[in-house]
Subunit: 134 residues, 2 copies
Amino acid sequence: MLKIKEKIHESGLKATPQRIAIYAAMQRLGHASADMVVEELNNVFPSLTIATIYNVLESFVEKGLLVRRYSSNNKMYFDVNTYDHIHFYDVESNTHRDYSDPELIRLVNEYLGSKDIPGFKVSSVDIQLIGQMA
Amino acid sequence: MLKIKEKIHESGLKATPQRIAIYAAMQRLGHASADMVVEELNNVFPSLTIATIYNVLESFVEKGLLVRRYSSNNKMYFDVNTYDHIHFYDVESNTHRDYSDPELIRLVNEYLGSKDIPGFKVSSVDIQLIGQMA
DNA sequence: GTGATTGCAAATTTTTTGCAAGATA
DNA sequence: TATCTTGCAAAAAATTTGCAATCAC
């Protein structure tokens, strides 16, 4: 758990027990919404309320410890993996799954690098494979 | 407006004035959330309530007249263009913009076609360029 | 000690639901 | 006419906010 404490500290946030627990939960869950984190932690850390979870997740995003994910339902999802990767998005269950394919990312970035997209300042490319768990 | 009426009818839904107005609003807006449709129509069609808008948008998605879009805030967005295309997503304003690039789509589909993704049944590929309006 | 953070409660925003009245095919 | 659809109101779901008490550095 030392690593988490350091990670949070390095980001400029105070390493409170709540933040450490939330980050650890995100590591276990990978991709999660606020209520999934509550559920994951309410046995271990029952004092943690949904409001705090939202505040902590938001501050983690601001500091780059998490990234937001894109969904088609009305919920916000967060991803503990901040490196460049592809997602599989199950529209039935609204779940996200990592799909590591550096070659595809390289392919797309190479293609886009050669293009000039007028009016846009592209900061990242998000590729989601939409479908269902087979 | 004849075309819209036909389109709705062909999908198996009754072509009510409300549905025609909502579809027309979506055509003007391109990508929109329910409240954007309300705002677009509340001068022309003030009796339309948000509940009806949600019901209509949802039934349009079921019938394939609209597709859902992916966002990182807590709102549902809809897209009137159901053909395969790429999006630019502005994370500041949560707005979507079409970016037509058939070559990139072909490139990605070709690459994925050659891959076997175990455990997934991929129905579509969603590519979003994340960034800000320049 | 001091400023940042948490927890609580309440408010806001977004989406869904139940049902009676009305409209479409 | 029979069924589908709308509009209203209320409920549910998801997120945000204000503030006093508490904690990390």
